[in-house]
Symmetry: C2
């Protein structure tokens, strides 16, 4: 719509240092006036020319801004037939932006921005702001404004439809120490000087809804201008799920007398709540009803359904008496934690109340409306989390939520009718910029970006902030770090999370981080100076700081393992751990010091050394050990797959399809260097080196020359002899396979990414589809459409199938690795069936029993694991069918294993496929 | 018997630089000749004068040495009526030492040393050696010989009785790296130059039996002089429990072909065994029969009773054919691990075979003979451990077996008839000197030292080695370090073993170590130079090195806790951990360097960083963390009993009987010092300081002025305000009690040492008696006599009773802390009964089910814990009766607790007793 060169009948927003004036009726909403001022400044930011706010005689072009039915300017245009309101008028937050010729005397051409309501107009303005080159994050993330000499608006009419979700907003929560200390330093607290920046951000993101900070904060009392300005700007205020009747928890601590207990202190509570409703009656709000215990705790055991229903009835009486009937404020009942249990046991509120369903605090919806509930006029919403303080460990440092996950869960939510409210806990707001905008964008227009284009969304977002030439690169950084962080949050990461002894897992994961850092460093050197701060905040810091934390854990893990092995280099890895710990602190300080401390304190959050759900008071380095290294000459030999002197066993098997490379690590056990020679028992065993000096750590790569290896299984060995004539013999087995099909077992396990199916058979109008880049590894698959009913009959199920070859007969177990979706419908679980060859299919349920312990493990691991016994299987080829029963099941991987369950956190690398 | 001044008719062994000659018939045993030579040298060591080995014309006094029936000298004396053999002749290893006037022409007075057999004579000589001042450990532990100008033997006859246990010896095992490397350096291996030192040591200790080192050692083949000299010296050789037919495991690895499997390789095995019996047929040996798997592993699952009985029958056939019938070598069947299970399932060997019962490798007898088994002519023996390589973690560094434990278990063994063989695994021999001698002394003459005089034994032993003036002090060091080490072996010790948050347990245990070290340091400065090496080996090193390891764990534990608390001093404790790790290495090096490396390698054993049963290849420091300390001013306040900011709770309760002192720790959370003031809510709360500066860590001691405290329970608080005006309020409760009796509950738990009974009622001829200093804390109690039958009827039970007061009503659990005795009789467990007030007594069994897991926990903890539910109890006074059912139960402590199980590893400190 915006052009920098003139086209036929285009509207000139600015050219040659002169900007078109912006005209708003004086009778329009103050919020519209304010947004028009901001828009004028945006034009100036881009072009250097500040539009005037009233027309001059000399103007032939003008921007006409107004709200239908609330602006004499717009209403005149409509009456005169110059502007059509068709498809817009009366629609919540809808609007039209149109270039109109000769709209009124003295104006030759107008850009008309007309909203069906106040926010319709405001959103029209900020949409244009974004289009001319002002990022919604220009203030909050220092994104430079792209300047232009001239700006033109292409002729035409653009209708902005009503958003899919009515109330779309964020919850500033868990806001200490970072946001709190920052706001204190910059504004003297969370007052209106602070909040107007939040309001403006939300409007630029075309959101309309805010739950204010409430950790020892009282929005309405801390600064009386807060609610007044929110309403003026056009922001609908809510209170958090456990703060009923527009009153902050802090207000109760200040004013309340007696207990926060309706059975014993009803009068005081009634007065307290009545004051809240009366105080804010003129303002657009959502009114939380119901009650939790004080301090966001569950109410006492004696709390019960009848009591809560009575509380709600009494609260509605207060609202009916004290609220302004002109301000149609919805009532919200948040079904958080135990409150959802009351609901499931039968507690109900009137049908006009919006039911706010909540995720499990880890981005998994606990419950979505049933078909019956979808008919309730009050509708339903979702309370979601990008930040959480609680079990199993809080996550409040960096973004750990990939938008692939947000899309999958919020798509489900929308399809199941949760479209009245979307509110997301964003912690300190920074550094959650990226997922915040995606969440709000999806809430506004979910059709804009579907599951197959989420990386394009990320690239486009990055291109908007940093220029098209860096969009794809930075997009990859952003999706990369959030995906890798979600595998295990930095807070949950431990030195032993990834396996050091199986599948080189720790090395592989560390290499993934290193690749991201390399890319991030390269981009950093390329970006101009003015982009450096935004880049550091939005991409570089999260990538680099996450990588440093991961590296620190890897270093500590190596220290632990090498110490057990008696390797001298264990002490080196202790030093590395310490230096990475210092680097982490340096990176946080660098963030806090950006632009002369503009974001000072924003990275005060501790993130290292969690040992329970709460954050540690200080960052704690992972504990490291050291070994006593004698002044001797001694070589340590450590074959892959084992650790320690009593664990000698052959190297994991080699086979001619997977064509593995195995390693034999060498390390010093004394202070003095050693040389070694390596010999093999057969000419088909290939070593990366046959001799050498060991001065620290070395590795010999072992592989097989399959052109020389005998057919079938052969035994062999590698012997390492050191310069003191000590010899270590490492046994190995090589399997030169014939007649394999599909995925071929690799050292006792067949590992298949779910998206790598051989066939995909739709049934009952349902089929499995790939969720690209979803989850911890390659991707996921989910059945669509998600509203399709459960298919319990085998012949009605959509199925994917996989072919694989076992290299030996024996008992096998299938481990399915799934997204940790929760059973969000009360009448059934999350089921799928597994059939092998021609055997009867087995039905598996993701959560036969949803215990706290299993849930904690699943959200910690980022995946749910469900095992299906496959019984005795013959060696050779098999076909596995995996079929859909219930919607919402997302499969990521399959691991079919025998006696030894592979020890990798993510599962083994995918098995190789037999060549046809 | 020995005097340094002449008395009437005393025999002059040496005076004025002239020693009495030592005369042995040339027809006596070579071992006697050898011992006489050694004795002569001992006289020289003491006096400087070397006795001649034949009489000179000028001599009027002579030492006449010989074996009855094997010495013309002695036989002549007997024939001539000069020497009586009454009560001696024909008795195994008995002897007489007597001053005889005019024994023969030319000799005016003789000291006659006459044995009933070879070792009877040898032991007579070495007994005298010890008495004149040559410690059995003069060579093996550098104990200085006490010199004298003159030596006289008091006139009289001294009969040395037959030892209680026939074969008494040690097993050199788990002998790498220490003993192996040392012997390699000093002797070029475990050859006869090495072994003769072992033989001599055993004989000086009046032992007769040896199982040789067998980790890649073959006693009979490594040096053919080994068995020959053993027999000459007088040592009976055995082989370890899994090496049948006098053949070492290493010999099989060298000569064996095919599998170590009788079902498939009978001919080869038969030949192998036949060679063993034939080879050693002239030597005194015990012949192990039966079979275990290769490498001391259990035989395959297909092994069964019938097969093993067949093997034994075939082995006995070989012995009957090949052994020399003159050498009456006993056959031994070791009932180790799984072999005991075969026995219990019915496998039997002929009655003349000695059954060698084995402890659990941790000093607890698994099985003792039943009344029926005690009638077997082959008798029974015990294989015991002072060193072990295996589950749950090896212990092969220092002595961790207090002799109180040895006495208790070996007393049981002897009473139950295990008196044919006592063999103890002593690891590298050093530093097990002290328990080795106790074990062998008890085997020889168990009546010499009873349970009430074990500390006197230790003191006397120390006095012999270091002089009477240091006996008690060093005795205390030796019993002290072994007792504290047995609480938790150094290998099993972890930074969190002892509680940092309850009962100041870590501080108290650390103080116990510090007190020992202080004493050890003081003695070290007092001892003359010539005693320094022996003192370092026998007392100083084990005390100091154990204390350093404990301190290191405490430092690491503080580092972990303080890091979690965000205390800056966490970093200091990391430094302390590192410096103690270095000190440990320095102490080992000091041992290895003693006397110019005389014991080089003897302290090569790693002992830090165990993570499985086997020893780590290098010592590994306990992992430590560090915290990121900001440059701020912040005080951390840490009340006793809780850790971390979300665990605030009142201080543990105060009461007027226990009169506790509680602490509030203060620490810096930033780099800058803080000052504080402390205030109390009531005048009866007493603080050790009311203000001060915190520059590192501080503690405020909180106590109650009971003269001012109100009666009953009162609430109060202490408020700490720092110089930045942050205030922390710590709540407390004080209970000013009235009407208490017995032990009074201390903050929710009554803790009673078992020996502190109020009444002790014998019944059925049985009564509980105290085992002084036994176990982990004060002592233990056990019922005696131990052969008394089980008393299942309540009115036939011996009982002890205890009175205690609960300060509140509620459910209580009794935790009994017991020695980890195993159920050593097959027909019953280890039961006792607990009766409270007038309620029916409950019968408890120490091992309702003896699982591997529970056993591992018990031997790791050094105690077995058995809980008895006591149900709902009223506040006020109660009486508990604990009564005996089965012999062998040793009670150490009782902890009666309510909702919170006290977290101390050893249990809380003993509760105070109400004043009458």
């Amino acid at each position: 719509m915006i052009r920098t060169a003139q086209t036929a009948k285009s509207f000139t927003l600015e050219a040659k240092g002169k900007a078109a004036p912006i005209i708003v009726s004086s009778d329009d909403w103050p919020g519209v006036q304010h947004a028009a001022d901001e828009f004028a400044q945006d034009v100036q930011r881009v072009t250097g020319a500040l539009p005037t706010r009233s027309a001059q005689a000399s103007d032939v072009d003008a921007v006409l801004v107004g709200t239908m039915g609330h602006s004499s300017l717009i209403d005149d245009l409509v009456r005169s037939g110059k502007l059509s309101t068709a498809g817009v008028a009366g629609q919540w937050e809808a609007g039209v932006t149109e270039v109109v010729e000769n709209p009124m005397p003295g104006v030759k051409r107008a850009l008309v921005i007309a909203g069906a309501d106040k926010r319709g107009t405001i959103f029209g303005l900020y949409t244009l702001s974004e289009q001319i080159g002002v990022s919604p994050w220009y203030w909050w993330a220092d994104v430079p404004v792209k300047t232009h000499d001239a700006l033109y608006v292409k002729a035409g009419r653009h209708v902005m439809a009503t958003p899919a979700v009515k109330y779309r907003g964020i919850f500033l929560n868990d806001e200490a120490p970072a946001l709190t200390n920052w706001a204190q330093e910059k504004f003297g607290g969370k007052n209106s000087k602070f909040y107007t920046h939040v309001f403006e951000l939300l409007l630029r993101l075309r959101a309309n809804y805010l739950w204010p900070a409430m950790w020892d904060n009282a929005f309405n009392e801390d600064d009386p201008l807060n609610p007044k300005l929110a309403d003026e700007y056009g922001i609908v205020m809510g209170t958090s799920h456990h703060e009923p009747m527009i009153r902050a928890q802090k207000e109760w601590h200040k004013h309340g007398t007696g207990e926060w207990d309706y059975t014993t202190n009803k009068d005081v509570l009634t007065k307290f709540w009545t004051e809240g409703i009366a105080r804010n009656k003129e303002y657009e709000s959502t009114i939380t009803i119901g009650m939790r215990g004080d301090g966001d705790m569950a109410m006492s055991a004696s709390a019960n359904t009848k009591l809560l229903e009575g509380i709600v009835a009494d609260q509605r009486k207060i609202i009916a008496e004290k609220a302004d009937p002109k301000v149609k404020n919805p009532q919200i009942w948040a079904l958080y934690k135990e409150v959802q249990e009351y609901y499931e046991k039968g507690m109900r509120v009137p049908d006009d109340v919006t039911l706010l369903w909540c995720d499990d605090n880890w981005g998994n919806n606990r419950r979505l409306p049933t078909a019956a509930e979808r008919k309730r006029p009050g509708g339903a919403g979702i309370y979601y989390h990008f930040d959480y303080v609680g079990d199993p460990r809080s996550y409040k440092w960096l973004n750990v939520t990939p938008i692939t996950k947000v899309w999958e869960q919020m798509h489900l939510a929308l399809q199941y009718g949760a479209d009245r409210v979307w509110i997301v806990n964003v912690g300190d707001l920074k550094p959650m910029e990226f997922p915040i905008e995606f969440f709000l964008t999806m809430a506004r227009d979910p059709k804009l970006w579907d599951k197959d284009h989420l990386q394009q969304y990320t690239d486009a977002w990055s291109a908007r902030e940093f220029g098209a030439e860096h969009g794809a690169e930075i997009g990859e950084l952003i999706s990369g770090y959030s995906k890798l962080n979600r595998r295990r949050t930095p807070e949950l990461l431990e030195p032993e999370t990834y396996s050091f002894t199986e599948g080189h897992e720790a090395d592989r994961v560390q290499a993934e981080w290193a690749a991201l850092v390399k890319k991030a460093d390269a981009v950093r050197t390329q970006l101009p100076q003015e982009y450096q701060a935004a880049y550091f905040e939005l991409a570089y810091y999260p990538v680099k700081a996450s990588a440093v934390v991961n590296d620190m854990m890897f270093a500590a893990g190596r220290n632990h393992l090498y110490a057990k092995q008696g390797r001298a280099s264990a002490n080196h890895w202790a030093d590395v751990t310490r230096s990475l710990f210092a680097e982490d602190a340096k990176l946080s300080a660098e963030y806090n010091g950006l632009l002369d401390g503009r974001w000072n304190h924003m990275m005060d959050q501790t993130h290292l050394g969690y040992y329970a759900w709460f954050d540690p008071p200080r960052n704690i380095m992972p504990a490291v050990s050291q070994v006593d290294v004698p002044q001797t000459t001694q070589l340590g030999v450590y074959p892959e797959g084992g650790a320690g002197k009593y664990m000698h066993k052959p190297l994991p098997e080699f086979d001619s399809v997977n064509r593995q490379t195995r390693t034999i690590d060498l390390g010093l056990m004394g202070t003095k260097p050693v040389s070694f020679t390596a010999t093999t028992s057969a000419p088909w065993i290939v070593l990366s080196k046959m001799s050498g000096d060991v001065v620290s750590d070395e590795a010999i790569a072992v592989s097989i020359d399959w052109s020389k290896a005998p057919k079938g299984r052969s035994e062999g060995s590698v012997t390492i002899t050191d310069s003191t004539h000590n010899a270590t013999k490492v046994m190995l087995n090589a399997n030169n396979l014939a007649h394999t099909r599909g995925f071929v077992e690799d050292a006792g396990a067949v590992t298949i990414d779910a998206a790598q199916f051989m066939e995909n058979d739709a049934a009952s109008g349902v089929r499995w589809e790939v969720l690209p880049d979803f989850g911890e590894t390659r991707s996921g698959i989910e059945s669509f459409p998600v509203l399709a009913p459960s298919t319990e009959k085998l012949n009605e199920q959509a199925c994917v199938s996989y072919e694989f070859t076992l290299t030996s007969a024996g008992t096998r177990t299938l481990e399915t690795i799934l997204a940790p979706t929760l059973p969000f419908q009360p009448d059934h679980g999350l089921r799928f069936t597994v059939g092998l060859d021609h055997a009867a299919a087995i039905t598996a349920d993701m959560w036969p029993k949803l215990t706290d312990e299993e849930w904690r493990k699943a959200v910690s691991d980022g995946v749910r694991r469900v095992s299906v016994p496959l019984g005795e299987l013959a060696a050779g080829a098999h076909t596995m069918h995996v079929c859909r029963v219930d919607a919402g099941v997302v499969l990521e991987r399959f691991v079919i294993y025998g006696e030894h369950r592979p020890g990798e956190y993510l599962g083994p690398i995918e098995s190789a496929v037999a060549k046809p």
